[in-house]
Structure formats: C-alpha cells, structure tokens
Amino acid sequence: MHDFFSQSVYFGALATFGFYQLGVYLKKKTGLAIMNPILVAAVIIVVLLKVTRTEYADYNAGAKYITYLLTPTTVCLAVPLYEQFELLKKHRVALLTGITSSVIISALLILGFSVLFGLTHEEFVTFLPKSITTAIAMGLSEQLGGYVSITVVAVIITGVFGNIAAEAVLKLFHVTHPIAKGVAIGSSSHAVGTAKAMELGEIEGAMSSLSIAVAGVLTVIASIIFSMIY
C-alpha cells in the first residue's frame, strides 16, 4: 500500500482537491473561521502521509502541477484590481495612506519581534510577507531566501486570526468608519480577513479586497528594503 501511494501519479492531486472540497463543506456547515479549507486539507493530508508513511516529495510529485498554476493566477489578480479601479481612484488619499502605513508598520513590527527573539535573517524574511495574499507572499519569501512552507502557514494563521478578531480589535481601537474598517482588515489579514469584512458590510468588503492587491504590491517594495536591514 505504501509503495502504491508513493508511485501514484494522481494521488497527490486528488487528495489536494478532494480534502479542500471537504474543508469547504466543513466551513459552510460549522461557520467557524478555524475551519479554513486550506488548513483542513493540509492537516488531513499530513496525517494521511504519516499514516501511509508516504514522503512529502512523493505526494508533491502529483500536487506540484496545481502549484504550477500559481504564477499565472497571481498575474490575474490585476483583473479584480482593474475592476475596482474607480473605487480606488475615488478614495485614493485615505486608501494609499492607510495601506502604506499598514505595510510599514507590519515590517517594523516583524523586525522588532525578530530582533527581540534573535531570529535569523532567513526566519525574518519568512515572516515579512505574512500579512499579504499567499500568492505574492510565497513568491516573495522564495526570492528573499525564506522558508516558503512556513510563510504559507504564517499567512493562513494571520488570515484566520484577522477574521476571528477583526470586530473586537476595531472596537478596541475605536475604528468605526466603514472605509477604515475595510482597509484595516484587508491590509492586515488579506482574503481570509476580507471574508469577515464582507459580513460587516458592502463598503467594508470592497475596501478590504481592494487593499489586498495594493498591500501585496507595496509589501514587495517594503520587504526588499527591510530584508537589507536585518
């Protein structure tokens, strides 16, 4: 059985799609942010690989064809950004100031924690892109020499936490303006947080999803500069 899983061409891809679908179902049934489909699928697959004593490399031999699509898909993120371009132009001052501050504050905090905990340069650049969409974060972590799989998990944890905590955090900081709420959620916790912003309201949702792409691109610039500091 172990040999079969190791040699199967479609096992990796089927497990990835299938358990992701199961995660979507569980998320819908329970409504819990922790039931993030990526997280559910990854945990089940890790357990399955451990139980069948299959190597990650053997699983990835089939699954890598899915990951292969990531670059063209990231390029496509320009399409929703273009579709929301009018909204971006209308609120450009507040949006650009808010998102730029978010990107700089995030980099400074991660630098601070890294110094505090004595993390290595590789660990530092692994976490630098953690508040942005996984697609850009992965590419950036790889280019800067970080641990890509840790970046992916850090991005997911960030998103899930942002989703769960958003309402309480914004209340604590007395943020009441719908545009400010959307920008805060989208630029700190990307698409997973944006799901919460959409529940809060239409403006919050639109502003949050707009912030994802802008924060993503700005973070590339900030991360390159910060990666030279520490």
């Binding site: 950004l81 273009y82 840790i150 805060a184 630029s187």
Partner: protein, 123 residues
C-alpha cells in the same frame, strides 16, 4: 476558442514576468512583474477586460487550492521550527493585532481630515 486565447495571453504575460525576473537583479517575483504588466495593459486600454476576464476569474476562484501542497510542505520543515513555535505565534498574532488596529486608526484620521476639508472621501 475564447478560453484558448485568454490562456495564451495570461501565459504570455507570466512569461514576460519571468524574463524581467531574470534580467532585473531584484528579488521581485515574476508574478509581480506580471500583475503590473497586466494592470498597465488594462488601464491603458491596450488589453480589453473581455480578453482575459473569464479565465482570470476561474483561476482566482480555485487559487486557494494551490496553497494546500506548500502548506503540507511544513511537515518536512517541522524539525527545523519545532523549538521556535511559540515565538513564531507571538510574532504572527502580535503583529497582526497591532497592524490591524493602527491601520484602522490612521485611515480613519485621514478620512476625517479629508471630509473636514470637504475632500473627496465620503462613506
């Protein structure tokens, strides 16, 4: 043949991104050059939204599935991070909490300043 053309355009822009990543000595991922090229073409009107729309929306819809395999890759990195998990969690949760709160405060200040001056920002 609509999808075939859309796929060719998207792959061509991705390829251009790779070329730039190779030529320019900066750690900018190929996909970022691609986003900028695609966005520039759309805004300038050289590329019509209808030439890439359906395939783009399809790929973005299934995008989260592309992160499952890299997340599973953590099992190979586990030995490396086992000792630092608590520090990592403090860093991730602490910075997310502060970034969200402070960004909200700053954006709200800018919005209030804008509307006090009769600027263009209204809720």
């Amino acid at each position: 043949m609509k999808y075939l053309r859309q796929i060719i355009i998207i792959l061509f822009i991705s390829f251009l991104g790779e070329v730039l990543n190779y030529l320019i000595p900066l750690p900018v991922p190929a996909s970022i050059y691609g986003i900028v090229i695609m966005f520039g073409l759309l805004v300038s009107g050289r590329l019509k939204l209808s030439s890439v729309k359906e395939t783009s929306h399809f790929l973005i819809d299934i995008m989260p599935i592309m992160f499952v395999a890299p997340a599973v890759g953590l099992m190979d990195a586990w030995d490396l991070i086992r000792g630092s998990v608590v520090q990592y969690l403090v860093l991730i949760l602490g910075s997310t909490f502060l970034v969200m709160g402070l960004t909200g405060v700053i954006t709200q200040l800018m919005l209030n300043k804008g509307s006090a001056k009769g600027g263009e920002d209204h809720a």
